[in-house]
């Protein structure tokens, strides 16, 4: 930055001179720098950016454009372009009989995860906020542990817990439920696993948020006679609203994309009871080899996520208080 500043001093427009006059003293040694290196410096920032930009362009932007392109095309079974078909992929998707069910499943699945994961995460964080004597660190680690576990691994263990014959779930509850194969329970069972996976991260983020609330605010509220609930709704929640906003946003986005646990636990079944949009995209592309229609579906998913993100950011301006 400094290099840009020193030269123009002689002929710089009046307006900019004011700010530039001050650093001049510190900058002196730079004037010795040869002209050649200055030219090189104009390129320097781009060189620093180059490696990252290579990956972003080749593996984010290019494929995203290709997905958009492919959604208007048909391909052969290996994904080679055959011909453009306009909106036909989209029309086909929306005329599929099971598609409304898949959309509905997706829209049910997301709040089934986000709401409990948020409430439980906040409850655990409030519990751990004031130090737990002796075992604080241990309890925090236990609460946050699911964060380190992969959805695929978690699904294996939960698959055993849910096993109708030898699983512990039926025994503990004294029930006889086929957790994963009964259409009434399958969605709930998969959602529970996902809540569990999300809980650890929510806990730790909200705990960090809570610990950032200045103590004196809480104390003065107590002196003013605010009771528990009032304190919670009028002080705690507004004070951690930036963290809450981030956690909600992140939970919604990741619930839309839940895949591993569904594939391992139910494969979208029974029937299509747990088939959400992401799983259907996977089936279309890698089981049916209809890449065009899979790409179209992934754009529908993108549109849904974008809409929700925009609504959320709109809400942020009203509901979130940045200190």
């Amino acid at each position: 930055m400094q290099k840009v500043i020193q030269r123009p001093l002689e002929g710089a427009p009046v307006g900019s001179r004011k700010q530039e006059a001050k650093p001049k003293v510190i900058q002196r040694p730079l004037e010795v720098a040869p002209v050649g290196s200055r030219k090189q410096n104009r390129l320097a920032p781009y060189l620093f950016l180059l490696p990252a930009l290579f990956f972003f362009l080749s593996f984010y932007y290019a494929p995203f454009l290709r997905t958009i392109f492919t959604s208007f095309a048909v391909t052969d079974a290996t994904g080679n372009f055959k011909k453009m078909v306009g909106l036909k992929n989209f029309i086909m998707i929306f005329s599929r009989k099971d598609f409304p069910v898949i959309l509905l499943n997706t829209l049910k699945f997301v709040p089934m995860i986000v709401i409990p994961a948020l409430v439980l995460g906040l409850a655990l964080a409030m519990f751990a906020n004031r130090k737990i004597p002796r075992v604080s660190r241990l309890v925090e680690t236990m609460f946050s542990l699911p964060m380190a576990i992969a959805s695929a691994s978690a699904a294996l263990v939960w698959g055993l817990i849910y096993n109708p014959v030898i699983g512990i779930a039926n025994y503990a509850l004294q029930t006889n439920i086929n957790w994963l194969a009964d259409a009434n329970f399958a969605m709930f069972s998969v959602a529970l696993v996902t809540v569990w996976l999300q809980l650890g991260a929510n806990f730790i983020f909200l705990l960090t948020g809570l610990r950032g609330v200045p103590e004196d605010i809480m104390e003065s509220a107590m002196i003013d006679g605010a009771n528990g609930w009032r304190k919670f709704f009028h002080i705690t929640l507004p004070m951690i609203s930036p963290t809450l906003f981030f956690v909600i946003f992140w939970n919604i986005m990741s619930s839309f994309q839940a895949f591993g646990q569904i594939r391992i636990l139910t494969q979208g079944g029974p029937g299509i009871a747990t088939r959400v949009l992401v799983y259907d995209i996977y089936l279309e592309a890698f089981m049916n080899y209809r890449f065009g229609s899979a790409c179209a579906e992934s754009l529908i998913l993108f549109a849904m996520m974008l809409t929700i993100a925009l609504i959320q950011f709109r809400f942020e301006r009203k509901g979130v208080h940045y200190a």
Binding site: P45, T78, F127, R134, L160, F246
Partner: protein, 272 residues
């Protein structure tokens, strides 16, 4: 300072903690039970006479060491690449003013809004047509850079006093030397936060390695282990032993690095 005594709250905390990690403890316990014991009714929670047979059978049935090796190579290379590309890009954003700076920065952040599913099919087709299926390069390429990493490192570099660089430049230090010998060392907390987060995420990856690996020798831990569950006639004890085996590295890294990772991510994601 008071020295708080172990009290009711500690007990409740521990009980809640045990409930939350129950699935992990359950898996560990099952992995130590003989097959007949697992299948007996009522379901047992504690192994009566623990055995390591399941581990022997897990390592014999599946090339678990190979899975672990594959995942380690993948995670370490993605981790190093992300730390490097993110730091270099962040350096440009913090220490230079240049044409298109704001636009490029927003364009990088915007990649966070693109869901994995919207690009994974195209990336698969690209990698497949480049004959990179079933290779480390194929596993690695789509994850060489991350917007979160760039953002995190940028937030970190912004907290380093500008005087550091001014002083270094006055002493005749080049950008490259300043970056390696001053900036990166003082940014270690953020670097390790990113590295730990990246390692665990990659270790836990499922969809991408599922799509692009075919042969048993290229499978990563998550794929290898979940294939155990689809295999016929394999006992739950064996599957749980495999689960525990691949969980150990990520849990260890998580427990050691947890504080650092959270601190770094919070600084990046919320305050920004």
């Amino acid at each position: 300072m008071r020295n708080p005594k172990f009290n009711l709250k500690s007990v409740i905390g521990l009980l809640l903690g045990l409930m939350i990690i129950f699935p992990v403890l359950y898996a560990l316990s099952i992995s130590l039970m003989p097959e007949s014991f697992i299948a007996s009714y009522p379901p047992k929670v504690f192994p009566a006479n623990p055995t390591l047979d399941n581990y022997v059978s897990a390592f014999r049935t599946a090339p678990i060491t190979r899975f672990v090796l594959n995942s380690t190579v993948m995670a370490l290379s993605i981790m190093s690449a992300q730390v490097l590309t993110s730091s270099l890009a962040a350096y440009a954003f913090v220490y230079f003013s240049f044409r298109g700076k704001k636009f490029i920065f927003l364009a990088i952040l915007a990649t966070m809004m693109i869901p994995g599913e919207a690009i994974i099919i195209s990336n698969y087709l690209t990698v497949a047509s480049a004959q990179l299926l079933d290779s480390f390069l194929g596993l690695f390429l789509p994850y060489g850079a991350s917007a979160m990493g760039v953002f995190l490192m940028r937030q970190q570099f912004l907290t380093v006093p500008k005087e550091f660089k001014e002083a270094a430049i006055m002493d005749g230090c080049t950008d490259r030397r300043y970056f390696w010998t001053i900036l990166m060392p003082v940014s270690m907390p953020a670097v390790s936060a990113l590295a730990i987060y990246c390692f665990i995420t990659t270790w836990n990856q499922y969809l991408w390695p599922l799509l692009i690996t075919n042969s048993a020798t290229m499978r990563t831990v998550q794929i290898g282990i979940s294939m155990l569950s689809f295999a016929d006639g394999l006992s739950y004890g064996t599957i749980m032993a495999g689960f525990v085996a691949i969980l150990v590295p990520s849990i260890l890294i998580f427990i050691v690095g947890q504080k650092r990772m959270i601190g770094g991510m919070m600084a990046g994601s919320v305050k920004g």
